[in-house]
């Protein structure tokens, strides 16, 4: 029954105009990539190779795609997909109707957040497949293996953006303020995501940043291995679970 609820909720989200707008935004990012990454200046490539300790030129595309396109996109999509969770239902009186069914507020919160994560996942994977198709033809040296490995880890950072926005929504209970706080915190995390690479002395502290965990595969271009994926994914799963647990705890005490 819960799987069906998730499925129906996902379908409803996919019918919303904002989801189509989000898909359009990701499509634009995918289409722009071959243009932006076509002729990199030497100083940018050299700086990136230094920060990420690699001689692989594909770092340039991976960096641009992750930093410029995906980090910004997941930040805003997280808020768009989960920033009004429970608030809108409460304001419009839907929540009372929904919670009159045999579902607890915590379970409802979890189901809606997971559904938003699933929508994020579909948009995210779709944009990566499209980008891989576009870029593999136009960018020489494109490495699909490392691209998808890096993005697999980053997908869990995208889930973090959804879970965090849902937590802010349920904690703050005021839609505009919750959205703003989510957006600002996530943008600070995005802004600091690479700081551990720029200054290795800060890499320990930076590891607490979920977005840093999400981009960690960029530091292993020369020695990619499943082990380098498992660690950050496990860390992100732990962070996401903690955020979801906090949200569910708050939702439990929510009065309709």
């Amino acid at each position: 029954m819960k799987a069906r609820f998730l499925w129906l909720d996902m379908r409803a989200t996919f019918r919303e105009r904002k989801t189509w707008l989000a898909a359009g935004m990701l499509a634009y990012a995918a289409l722009a990539m071959p243009v932006i990454a076509a002729k990199p200046p030497a100083h940018v490539l050299s700086a990136l190779q230094g920060w990420f300790s690699t001689s692989d030129p594909s770092i340039l595309f991976l960096f641009i795609w992750t930093d410029l396109a995906m980090n910004k996109s997941i930040m805003v999509l997280g808020v768009v997909l989960a920033g009004s969770l429970l608030i809108r239902e409460k304001e419009t009186g839907q929540l009372a109707v929904l919670l009159s069914k045999p579902v607890s507020p915590a379970a409802y919160f979890l189901a809606r957040t997971l559904s938003a994560c699933a929508v994020m996942g579909v948009l995210y994977i779709g944009s990566h497949l499209a980008t891989a198709l576009l870029v593999s033809r136009s960018l020489p040296g494109f490495r699909p293996g490392i691209f998808f490995a890096s993005m697999t880890v980053h997908l869990f950072a995208a889930f973090f953006c959804v879970c965090f926005s849902a937590l802010m929504a349920v904690l703050i209970q005021k839609r505009a303020l919750a959205a703003l706080v989510s957006l600002l915190v996530l943008s600070l995390l995005v802004g600091m995501a690479f700081i551990g690479f720029y200054n290795p002395a800060w890499s320990g502290l930076s590891a607490f940043n979920p977005l840093t965990q999400g981009i960690s595969m960029l530091g292993h271009l020369d020695d990619p291995s499943p082990a380098h994926m498992v660690g950050p994914i496990a860390a992100l799963l732990g962070m996401n679970a903690a955020v979801l647990a906090l949200g569910a705890l708050r939702a439990r005490h929510l009065e309709v």
Binding site: E91, T92, G93, K174
Partner: protein, 243 residues
């Protein structure tokens, strides 16, 4: 001069004629019933009377003011309670009423006096400084009515005002509307699909069916014309004939 005068009022949404050439009038000081099933066009008509929706064709005047050209003047003299609405959850009842009073440019002293009297009238004094987010349906409806009366309107347009009220609340509301009409001469346009409420309160009615006016006149005359013993029979007869 009629309090409300509607002449061949029409509103079209794409292929749907939500209101289709409706004409009737309401006399000053009367409580006029506006009946019809859900989706019959009652709400669209009320919205046009307040200038919230523009008519596709036809015209309407409220207290002599054209509802399109002089909608601000119409709204200055009207009170309105929509069928479906939400009150700002973060405000208290008193703050919300002050906020609405400010839209009428009432000065603070006058606003405070009217708010106090309305809170008293609807038995909301104890809850006046509580956030509206925690109000029950009945209390919300009372605040909704209070905001509609804050400007001491000459005409009150009420869209399904008794839905959601318990029997006691419903009785109190109907009594209050009677007093408004008899003591202050306020004209009430009472839109509802609850026919018993209309029968209790109104002498004359207009009935809409699928956007068209199917009856207009005194209830008793309509009943005898259609050989109906009660309002349910009358409405069914009107609806069947229109279909």
């Amino acid at each position: 001069m009629h309090a409300i005068e509607i002449d061949r009022l029409t509103r079209v949404y794409g292929p749907v004629r939500a209101v289709d050439g409706v004409s009737f009038h309401v006399e000053p000081g009367e409580i006029f019933g506006f009946m019809g099933h859900n989706g019959a066009g009652k709400t669209t008509t009320l919205r046009m009377l307040l200038g919230l929706t523009r008519p596709t064709s036809g015209s309407a005047r409220v207290l002599g003011h054209d509802v399109v050209r002089e909608s601000l003047e119409v709204r200055r003299q009207c009170g309105f309670l929509p069928a479906s609405y939400a009150l700002p959850a973060h405000m208290t009842a008193r703050q919300f009423l002050h906020y609405v009073a400010a839209m009428f440019d009432l000065d603070t002293g006058m606003a405070e006096a009217r708010i106090q009297s309305l809170l008293q009238l609807f038995g909301l004094e104890a809850a006046a400084d509580r956030k509206l987010g925690g109000f029950s349906t009945g209390m919300t409806q009372k605040v909704g009515l209070a905001q509609a009366l804050i400007n001491e309107p000459r005409i009150v347009l009420l869209d399904e005002p008794t839905s959601g009220l318990d029997p006691l609340g419903r009785h109190e509301l109907l009594e209050h509307l009677r007093r408004l009409s008899s003591e202050r001469g306020v004209t009430v346009l009472f839109s509802s699909h609850i026919l018993s409420d209309i029968e209790t309160l109104c002498r004359r009615v207009a009935a809409l069916h699928q956007g068209r006016l199917v009856a207009f006149g005194p209830i008793e005359a309509l009943k005898s014309e259609h050989r109906s013993g009660n309002m349910d029979e009358l409405y069914l007869s009107l609806a069947r004939r229109a279909a």
